[in-house]
């Protein structure tokens, strides 16, 4: 985590980073005050997001240099397993995963998929690093206990942290002048995504 928190892109993002990784949604989840319906809304919307991220990463991978293949394809396989994991939870909770995508989540995924086609690889690497680093940092602030322990552990474990560290290294290796701009763009989407789940 330390290596991520002190990375060039995180430091340059300043307050945006802090806003994206410290949502009131997760604070409420940690202290037990989150409404179960809010959690269920988040689960459905995050499933839609994971589907969109899979598309982004798949297209990005098709344009990646050889050295990125192992990391990105490993990430894709993990995403596929995550979708199945979401589906199991949705079934257990009786949630409909084909319910409409919230406009805020849609904006985020539209941004990602458009970027998969129009941005150079260095920018895409920064985008993917931002998505996963913000997620890791947000969940790592919580201790894996209570009713949501399985969720917290899933996105704060050492294997996920190592994946994110390697994504950071990939972005660092393929620097591009617009990396910071897009890193920050992702953080704004992350911030809005957490708020969306809280609000509606």
């Amino acid at each position: 985590m330390q290596e991520i928190a002190t990375s060039r892109l995180v430091l340059a993002a300043g307050d945006l980073w802090r806003e994206a990784v410290n949502p009131r949604f997760l604070r409420a989840l940690a202290d037990g005050t989150l409404a179960p319906t809010a959690f269920q809304r988040w689960l459905v919307q995050d499933y839609h997001f994971a589907n969109g991220l899979l598309s982004f990463q798949a297209v990005m991978t098709s344009k990646a240099p050889r050295e990125g293949h192992g990391l990105l394809i490993g990430g894709l396989a993990a995403l596929e397993q995550e979708l199945a994991w979401f589906e199991r939870h949705a079934e257990r909770l009786g949630l409909r995963l084909n319910s409409p995508v919230h406009p805020v989540g849609r904006r985020y995924v539209d941004y990602l998929i458009a970027a998969a086609y129009v941005q150079p690889f260095g920018v895409q690497a920064a985008i993917l690093f931002a998505v996963e680093a913000a997620y890791l940092a947000a969940w790592s602030a919580l201790s894996p206990a209570g009713p949501y322990a399985e969720f917290i552990a899933r996105w704060s474990n050492t294997q996920f942290a190592e994946y994110v560290r390697r994504l950071g290294a990939l972005a660092q290796h393929h620097q591009h002048p617009q990396q910071a701009e897009h890193f920050n763009q992702v953080l704004k989407h992350e911030r809005d995504f957490w708020e969306m789940t809280w609000d509606t």
């Binding site: 904006r107 539209d110 998929i113 458009a114």
Partner: protein, 208 residues
């Protein structure tokens, strides 16, 4: 009923919301603040460049020569609109090269780019059509209230022009030809209208 008619009718609520939007009402009445109009023109030029690219991507994906000819004409129409925007921009003192997109414009452009690059031809046309039909509709509504010396008379004339309505009808005919009556097409059409609505809000939000 043809698909484009069905789509237009089932989204009458969003069309009415656009028609009643303070930005649109102000523009029609001529009471819209000049600064809000300046911001709108700048954002619209940014949007139109994406519109041209989306048409071009649809063209690249068109299997039939007649469809390619239609899309070629639509690209020409959008480029003509861009030329008009450049003229407005020059009159209003806006440098279109330095325009930063507002979130509403970015969202709309990303949606168009996602559709055009990633989705099928039918969905792409469903994303592109509402803008054309909505503007032809608003132009016609505005024309009835337009008087000589209206501060936004030139804008109204552009979209009230029967040629613009004819172009919108050709886009709709292509939509009917290439799109299936499926949820993704309905969804893209409706979301594009929602983007239109938010696009009108953006220049006002910034001034408040």
């Amino acid at each position: 009923m043809r698909l484009h008619e069905k789509l237009w009718l089932e989204n009458a609520d969003l069309v009415a919301a656009c028609e009643a939007h303070p930005f649109v009402r102000g523009l029609m009445a001529g009471t819209l603040q000049r600064d809000a109009f300046r911001r709108y023109v700048a954002q619209d030029a940014f949007f139109l460049r994406a519109f041209v690219r989306a048409y071009a991507l649809a063209l690249a994906r068109s299997p039939a020569a007649e469809q390619a000819e239609e899309l070629h004409a639509f690209i020409g129409g959008a480029l003509e609109e861009l030329r008009l925007h450049r003229r407005y921009a020059a009159e209003l003192g806006i440098d279109l090269n330095t325009v930063e997109p507002l979130p509403a414009a970015s969202a709309y452009v990303n949606f168009l780019m996602r559709s055009a690059w990633h989705a099928g031809l039918g969905e792409t046309l469903a994303a592109l059509t509402p803008c054309m039909r909505l503007y032809a509709h608003l132009g016609q509504v505005a024309a009835s209230a337009c008087r000589p010396g209206h501060p936004y008379g030139a804008w109204i004339e552009t979209y009230a022009d029967p040629q613009f309505a004819a172009l919108a009808a050709r886009v709709e005919a292509l939509l009917d030809a290439v799109a299936d009556d499926e949820p993704a097409v309905h969804d893209a059409y409706r979301y594009a209208l929602l983007c239109e609505h938010d696009f009108f809000s953006a220049p006002l939000e910034l001034s408040s």
